[in-house]
Symmetry: C2
Subunit: 368 residues, 2 copies
């Protein structure tokens, strides 16, 4: 990523820090570090930390053996390396102490607690707050480049699903085997893979976050596939529900309700509408049809560098939608011990309303 883009994002973060009286922003390896520093590093036991002060030049604290990762970013930050036998939180504490009396420090959500616990020791007077409040303002609304990546990722997931439906035979396979087959197609169509995703069959489909396992798929099963992957660090996230063999009337009814709920959420989207109203629009369809108690999760979550991020489409969230926000629209009905149906697309808020990023088939799908 271009240093100009990163510099602009860092400045925007500093403006928000000033508004909110935050002295330092601590950005650990995570989506936040990709967003502000262009660096897709993994969290590990060796502290790497971008420290952004409210004004002035950021510093990047990094293990000496990972120093090369900051190559090309010297224009943005000062690099502070530490050797294997050093205690890096001491370096962090020195930077903070040099600047302020009783500093307020915003830490990125996904920083490991092992570091925050040490910081509490080294900086007993500091007040720690979550950086999410600052960073969501920046990350929630996607720019054109980000939208292009999200569209591309969605198209790859769509292509994988279309090919999967056209070619896969599920009966007799385990959930894991089925998920791996779809994973191969995701990779083939260009997605970077971070796990095999959810394949939930038969009664397992009634658990929204079922861990893909070794149950063998049988005729009469409902099978939910919830899958994604990354393109240039941006996520796809789509769910489709298939039925093995011809479904009965109840399945058809439930499927139709979930599809109408998905469409009702999409229709509710426009700038200025509160997040919770998108959830309510989908929930109303399901509740009116008598299945309200079986829709046990929010209707959606933001989508970007993280698979789940702000904004969350959930009762109680009065945040107004803005053009450029991207999130999932994924109502579901889950009948315990029996079956579940979920239909999920990624959508973007435009000036005119909501627009789907996913276009793969979502009519009632029968597979073998």
């Amino acid at each position: 990523m271009d240093n100009t883009v990163l510099a602009r994002r860092i400045e925007a973060a500093q403006r928000l820090m000033a508004e909110r009286a935050i002295d330092f922003l601590f950005v650990a390896p995570s989506s936040d570090l990709i967003y502000l520093f262009g660096l897709p590093a993994h969290a590990s036991e060796r502290l790497a930390l971008l420290i952004i002060p409210r004004t002035g030049r950021p510093q990047f604290v990094v293990p000496v053996l990972e120093q090369s990762r900051a190559a090309g970013r010297e224009a943005l930050v000062d690099i502070r390396t530490w050797e294997e036998t050093a205690q890096p939180v001491e370096i962090v504490a020195d930077i903070v102490r040099a600047a302020a009396g009783r500093p307020t420090i915003a830490v990125s959500d996904q920083m490991w607690s092992v570091f925050l616990v040490r910081m509490l020791e080294y900086l007993p007077d500091a007040v720690f707050v979550n950086a999410g409040g600052v960073l969501r303002e920046l990350r929630m609304v996607k720019d054109q480049e980000e939208l292009a990546c999200l569209h591309r990722a969605a198209a790859m997931a769509d292509a994988a699903w279309e090919e999967f439906v056209a070619t896969a035979r599920l009966t007799g396979k385990t959930e894991r085997q089925a998920a791996e087959e779809l994973t191969e197609l995701r990779a083939k169509h260009g997605l970077e893979i971070h796990g095999i995703g959810i394949c939930a069959s038969g009664p397992n489909s009634a658990a929204p976050h079922h861990l893909t396992g070794d149950r063998v798929i049988q005729p009469g099963d409902t099978v939910i596939f919830d899958f994604g992957g990354k393109y240039q660090h941006y996520s796809a996230d789509v769910t489709r529900t298939a039925h093995i063999g011809e479904p009965d009337a109840e399945y058809r009814r439930v499927y139709d309700i979930v599809l109408r709920a998905n469409e009702a959420a999409l229709a509710a989207i426009r700038p200025g509408v509160a997040c919770q109203d998108v959830d309510r629009a989908a929930r109303r369809v399901i509740t009116d049809a008598g299945y309200g108690e079986y829709f046990i999760h929010r209707v959606g979550h933001g989508l970007g560098l993280d698979g789940h991020e702000e904004p969350y489409l959930v009762e109680g969230n009065t945040l107004p939608l803005r053009p450029g926000m991207v999130f999932s629209d994924e109502p579901g009905i889950y009948l315990p011990g029996r079956f579940g149906v979920r239909i999920e697309d990624a959508v973007v808020v435009t000036e005119q309303g909501g627009e789907r990023l996913n276009h793969c088939r979502r009519d009632l799908t029968v597979m073998e």
Copy 2:
């Protein structure tokens, strides 16, 4: 995993908590949760937390839509579900407040800071410490089942490397393409894949944690492959260095020094020896050969449910080795702007000494 095994581990943790005056152990989705609860859940913005009190029955706080993940564990813990519109840290705070005045709470290293920051708000009187100090005691020494998994994972990585060396042609490929080719073989030989690993070519090989990129591999390059994967949640981790075409005398000399350093570390291993002495044994070989300043990292890290875990083989760590510990032996020499060599095997401490888990070829390897 068997509830009997998990119950034994939870009891062992409680004994250590009593010794160290820890009132609660907070275990978030991570390797710690697999170890103590058998649950390979991913961290997310929805709090899932195993709360182990010093005495008595643990509680598992879990989002209602992930409740099914605790199925079969009801004998071990009480399940406390929370609905989408709830604030789960309130539930956690209630559990803690019901029990103690000014509690000491050990939190697992990889818990996201977003939750710890909220806990600091809700439990201002609590003292938070790192759980690593308790859990490393348990996790460092592997039992027979764990050792079997680690052996199996290492054998799969070995098989992938042997096939890669026999079949791959690297010249003209990007690092990413080469790493993807090795990744396919890792998957073929049974490893679960969590990222493409490190492929560092030419001058990039002088950066120990180079991020695999788009540099094209050329004749005369040194290429470091650092790769692994999981078998039943246990990690493989091996590094091999290849040369494209016949190497010159300096490369041969450096390769020989690194190989001798690797062997010196292995030879230094036996129960009772301090961790730092294994590092010193390798470092002495490299320093005596005049390359000491170019060996810029510790000689190794523990290996188990995490790719990096305790014990760390590093200067300053006086912890004595015990039979059943498993860690990497991975000295390296890195000549900035030129090339690097690293040779890494997983090793286990036995009553007799150190034993390698990896057996794939590590003589000087020339590829095309």
